[in-house]
Amino acid sequence: MSEGDIAASTPVTGQSRMDSAWGSGGGDEVVSANVAQATVESGQIFEQIYQPWRGILNPRWMRNWAILRHHLLGVVKKGHRPWGIFIRLALLIILLASCSDVLLILLAGVIGENELYSMFGVNRDNLYGHVLGFFPRNVLYYPVIAALLVGGMISDDRSHGTSALYFSRPISRLDYASMKFLSIAIILFIFINGTLALYYFTEILVMGRGWSWIIDTFPSFLTAFFGGILIAFTYTAIGLALSSVSKGRFFPGIGLIAVIMGTRTLAAIVNGLFDKTILYVISPFDCVAHVTQALMGIEMTYDHPWTWSLASIIAINGLALYVLATRISSLEVTRE
C-alpha cells in the first residue's frame, strides 16, 4: 500500500493510519511495531463457574408458612421476628385481662355464688360483650394490641431494608402482604376469639352443661365468634393499610387508634347533640358492633338500619385492603 492510495474515499482504518505514521510504502511491506514488554507479574484469572441450584423449590404454601411462623413465633421465642419486650408484656397483660370473665365464671363455679353467675355467666349479652364490649375491651385492649402489632409491621421492613430480603427470594408481594396480614390477624384472633371460646367452654365444664344447653346457646356463640373474626379482620386491615403508607413506627399505631377512637368520638358527639346515630357508620368498631347486634338479636343501640353498617364495614375493609395492595405492589425495595 502506498501513500498515493490514500484518498478521501479511503475508509479510515487503523491499518492505513499506522502506515502513514511509520512512513511505510517505501520499504518493506511487513509492518511491525515495538511493544514494551510488561515486566509485571501476570495476573490471575479465576475461573468463575456458575452453579445453578438444583434443589427442589418448596411449594408456595410452605414458603409462606415460613414467613408466618417467623412472625408468630417471635411473640414467644427468640430467633424469630423480634417484638419489643414491652409489646410482649402488653400482650400478656391484655391476654390476662381479656380472660377476666373466664376467671369470674370459674370463681362463680367454685364458690357456687348464683348472683355472680347471673352477672358473668354465658348469655347473649355477655357473649356479645366479650367481643364487642366498648369499655374496656374495645378502648383499652383490642385496638391497643392491634396498634402495637401493626406499629412496625411493614414500615420496619421498609426502614431496615429487610423487605429486600423477602423480595430477593421466590416470594411474591401478595404472599408477603398476606402473611403479614395473617400473622397479625391470627394474634388478634387468639386474643378475641380464643378467649371467647375459652369463656364458653369454661362455662360448659364448670357448670356441667348438657347438650340441650349447648344446642340452645351455640348459635349465639357462633355469631359472637363471627363478630370476633370481623373485628380482628377490620383492625388488621386498617392497621396494615396505615403501616404500608408510612415509613415511621409511630404513625401506623397512632393512626389506627385515631381511626377507631376518633370516628367513634365524633359519632358520639353528634349522637349526643342531635340524637342521630347515622354518623356511627364511619366508625369501624360501631359498624361491626351493629352488625353483630343484629345477627345476635340483642337490643340494638343504633337507630339506623344495620344493613348500612354492614355496607360500611365492607367498604371500610375494601378501602383498607385496596390501599394495602396498591402500596405493597408499588413498594420500592430500598432502604429508606
Binding site: 391497643v144 347533640l273 342531635f274
Partner: protein, 445 residues
C-alpha cells in the same frame, strides 16, 4: 453601640431559636402526614358542623306544653281562648259569643320565658303571665294556685339560687311561663350544646390529644433514629434549648391551625346560630376560651409526648396508654364536671375546666337556662294527658350533658386563670424532665 447590641448573647439566642423553629416548621410542611393529619382534623370538625347546620335549619315542631290549644268540646274555640273569656272549654254550648275563634297555632307557643332579669343573687322574682291564663279568672287556675310559691305576689316565679350547693330552685305560680317557644329554646340549647360538645370533646380533647400524638411524638426521636440529630447537637447550643425550639416549631404549626379552626367554627356558629342580630358576637368569648384551652392542651401533650419519645424508642406505647387515661378523664370531666377530684390528675381535666369557666362567663344564665327546660318539661308531664309527649324541652338533655361547672369554688376568671397556670406548669415540668433526659442521653448509633 448598635452593633454591640446586635451581637449580644440574647440576640444570638434569638437567632438560634428562630433558626430551629423555622427549620422544624419547614420540616413539618414537607411531610405529607402533617397535611393529612391537619386535613382530617379540619374535615372531621366540619363534618360535625354539618349536622349542626342541619339542626339549625330544621324547623322544630312546636309543642303545646300546657295543652290549651286543643278544642276539647269541639266548638271551634281553643281551650286557652275559652278560659280567658270565661266560658267552659269542655262544654260545646259554652263559647265566647261574637268573637272569632283563634287559630290553634296561636295557643301553642303563647307564654314565653320572661326571666331575663334574673340575677344570681339569692332570690329573684321573675316571670310574667303573657297569655293571661293565671291573671284572669278562670276554671284552670284557682285563687290559691295564683300564689303557689307564697311570696304574696300573684302570677310570678321565684328563683332561689344557692351559691353554696350551686342548685337553682324554681318555684312558680300556676300557669306562668308554662308554654314557651320550643323552637327558640331548642335552637339556643342546641347551639350552646354544639359549641360545648365540639369545643370540649372535638377540639380540646380529640384534636388536643391526636395532633400532639401524631406531630410531637417524633419531635426529637425521629431525628435521633434518622441520624440527623448529629448536625444539631454539634452546635454551640444546649440540648435543652433544642427541645424548646423544636417545641416552638411544632407549636408554630399546631397553634395557627387551632386558631384558624376556632375562628372558622366561631364564624360558622356565629352566622348560623339563633340570634336577633346578624352575628352572635358574644359567642366569640367561648370560642376564645376553647382556643386557649386547645392551645395549652396541645402544648402540654406535645411536651409530654416528645419526652416519651426521648425516653424510649417505643415512646408511642406510653403515649397511647396516657391517651387512654386521658380519654377516661375526659368522660369523667364531661359527666361529673368539676365535682370529681380525679380529673385533676390529668391534663384534659384542666383543659376542659378552662372551657367550662369560659362557658360560665359567656352564658351566665346557663344554670338557669338548663333548669328552665327541665322545669317546663316537668310541668307539662304533670299536666299531660298525651302520654309520652312530655319531658324536657328539645336540646335540654345535650346541653345538660356537655356543660358543667368548673368546680373550683372561685369566680370564673380566677378558675380559668388557675387552670391555665396549672397547664403551663405541667408543660414546664414535662419539658424539664424531657430536657434532662435528653441531656443525659448518649447518642450512640
Amino acid at each position: 453601640m448598635m452593633s454591640e447590641k446586635m451581637n449580644s448573647v440574647w440576640s444570638k439566642l434569638d437567632r438560634k431559636a428562630t433558626a430551629i423553629a423555622e427549620f422544624t416548621m419547614r420540616q413539618y410542611r414537607t411531610r405529607i402526614s402533617t397535611w393529612v393529619v391537619l386535613g382530617v382534623g379540619l374535615g372531621s370538625m366540619l363534618l360535625v358542623a354539618l349536622f349542626y347546620a342541619d339542626a339549625m335549619n330544621t324547623q322544630i315542631e312546636a309543642i303545646d306544653n300546657d295543652q290549651d290549644s286543643y278544642d276539647w268540646d269541639g266548638d271551634g274555640y281553643p281551650t286557652g281562648q275559652e278560659v280567658i273569656h270565661g266560658t267552659d272549654p269542655y262544654n260545646s254550648n259554652s263559647y265566647p259569643i261574637g268573637i272569632e275563634p283563634d287559630p290553634r297555632e296561636k295557643w301553642i307557643n303563647e307564654d314565653d320565658f320572661n326571666w331575663d332579669n334574673a340575677s344570681f343573687a339569692q332570690i329573684s322574682k321573675v316571670g310574667y303571665d303573657d297569655d293571661g291564663d293565671c291573671r284572669r279568672e278562670g276554671q284552670l287556675v284557682s285563687q290559691s294556685q295564683k300564689d303557689n310559691n307564697g311570696d304574696s305576689i300573684p302570677c310570678n316565679i321565684v328563683l332561689i339560687y344557692s351559691n353554696y350547693s350551686q342548685v337553682l330552685i324554681i318555684s312558680s305560680d300556676g300557669n306562668v311561663d308554662e308554654d314557651p317557644d320550643d323552637e327558640k329554646y331548642a335552637k339556643e340549647a342546641l347551639h350552646r350544646a354544639f359549641i360545648l360538645g365540639v369545643g370540649k370533646m372535638g377540639i380540646v380533647y380529640l384534636l388536643g390529644i391526636f395532633l400532639p400524638l401524631f406531630l410531637a411524638t417524633g419531635l426529637i426521636r425521629d431525628e435521633m433514629t434518622n441520624g440527623t440529630m448529629h448536625f444539631m447537637i454539634a452546635k454551640p447550643i444546649a440540648r435543652g434549648e433544642i427541645l424548646v425550639y423544636r417545641m416552638l416549631g411544632y407549636l408554630g404549626i399546631v397553634w395557627p391551625f387551632l386558631i384558624g379552626l376556632c375562628l372558622l367554627m366561631s364564624l360558622l356558629t356565629g352566622f348560623m346560630g339563633p340570634s336577633e342580630s346578624f352575628f352572635r358576637l358574644s359567642d366569640l368569648a367561648i370560642w376564645f376560651t376553647i382556643c386557649i384551652a386547645a392551645m395549652l392542651v396541645t402544648l402540654v401533650y406535645g411536651a409530654i409526648f416528645s419526652t416519651f419519645g426521648i425516653l424510649w424508642k417505643q415512646g408511642v406505647v406510653l403515649a397511647i396508654i396516657l391517651a387512654a387515661w386521658e380519654l377516661g378523664m375526659a368522660f369523667v370531666s364531661v359527666l361529673a364536671g368539676g365535682d370529681s377530684a380525679i380529673q385533676k390528675f390529668s391534663v384534659i381535666g384542666w383543659g376542659l375546666m378552662i372551657v367550662d369557666a369560659g362557658a360560665a362567663m359567656t352564658w351566665p344564665d346557663m344554670a338557669m337556662f338548663i333548669e328552665m327546660g327541665e322545669w317546663v318539661g316537668k310541668q307539662s308531664c304533670d299536666r299531660s294527658t298525651l302520654g309520652d309527649e312530655c319531658g324536657p324541652l328539645i336540646g335540654n338533655e345535650p346541653l345538660r350533658f356537655f356543660s358543667s361547672g368548673h368546680g373550683l369554688g372561685v369566680t370564673n376568671w380566677v378558675a380559668a386563670l388557675i387552670a391555665s397556670l396549672v397547664l403551663i406548669f405541667q408543660a414546664a415540668a414535662a419539658w424539664f424532665i424531657g430536657q434532662s433526659l435528653f441531656k443525659g442521653k448518649e447518642m450512640d448509633d
